[in-house]
Amino acid sequence: MKCYLCAKEGKSTDAVGVCIICGMGLCMEHAVRDDIAMWEGGYPFPERKMNRTMPRILCPECNAAVKK
């Protein structure tokens, strides 16, 4: 797969990841990799942030939409 955003700019770059939301192929430059906090517990225990995080790759557009 090629990077969708690079293709729009007329470049052909191999994709290294896929946006989990829109499915867009992404090159290293365009992929936004984030570590998502994980929580454990909940009623009847207080929720606590776990030491582990979950990695997630998004395109810049979806990342901006999620962060809003």
């Binding site: 517990g41 009623y43 009847p44 225990f45 207080p46 942030k49």
Partner: protein, 247 residues
């Protein structure tokens, strides 16, 4: 995790809501029925106007308050709002001892504030006629029978908490609704027997309010609502662990 002070504050607020709305509903029922001729001495006024429907209404006032507190504060503190539940989670090594003490103190303070705010909202009749919704064994019910009823009622409550919330296989999202309805259902049956407290804090608040504001002194009955609920909840937690082990 939220720090202990804030979690204790959440327990305090949650128990305040429970006592204000739950025990408050019992007091209002007595105020509404005040002056009516009751058919027998077992009927002290609750049930005079709607039979068991009176108890269902009181039960639902508790149930809705419990569900609201669990859904809103459950992730902050765990929303135990009941020392018997906190002690049962501690006894089965699910909850640290230091937090257990802080939670119980917060629950007792919250329950007392709930009763004082209810008295402030509803006036002196809430104390002299409604007794602030304090629990006591009903006419003809002995001390031992009331302890047994409280123990069995709290056993069921804690089994449900274990099954719908503590057990990791429990379906998500139902805990508040099911636990609230369980308390409502238990109150329908046990309300007119032991008062169906199931919770030492729920009885502590109205007892303290009545004592401070010139109502009856009911503290002689307090051991019923300490011993019954704590034994019931602790037995239920160990019982659930045993029946669900080796699945």
């Amino acid at each position: 995790m939220t720090n202990l002070t804030k979690r204790a504050a959440a327990e305090c607020i949650g128990t305040l809501f429970l006592v204000y709305f739950g025990a408050g509903a019992a007091a209002v029922t007595l105020m509404i029925a005040n002056g009516a001729e009751t058919p027998n001495r077992f009927n002290i006024g609750i049930g005079e106007l709607g039979g068991l429907g009176d108890w269902l209404a009181i039960g639902l006032a508790f149930g809705f308050a419990i569900a609201a507190v669990i859904y809103s504060l459950g992730r902050i503190s765990g929303a135990h709002i009941n020392p018997a539940v906190t002690i049962a989670l501690w006894a089965t090594k699910r909850f640290p001892a230091q937090d257990t003490v802080a939670y119980i103190v917060a629950q007792l303070i919250g329950a007392s504030l709930g009763s004082l705010f209810f008295a402030a909202s509803a006036g002196m009749d809430a104390i002299t006629i409604g007794g602030l919704g304090a629990t006591a064994p009903f006419p003809g019910i002995s001390y031992g029978q009331a302890i047994l009823a409280e123990a069995i009622g709290t056993f069921i409550l804690m089994i449900v908490i274990m099954g719908v919330a503590v057990d990791k296989k429990a379906p998500a999202g139902f805990a508040g609704l099911v636990i609230g309805l369980t308390v409502a259902g238990v109150i329908v049956t046990l309300g007119n027997i032991s008062g169906s407290s199931l919770n030492p804090a729920r009885t502590f608040g109205p007892y303290l309010g009545d004592l401070l504001l010139g109502g009856s002194n009911l503290w002689g009955y307090f051991p019923i609502y300490l011993i019954g609920p704590v034994i019931g909840a602790v037995c239920a937690a160990f019982c659930y662990d045993w029946i669900s082990s080796g699945e």
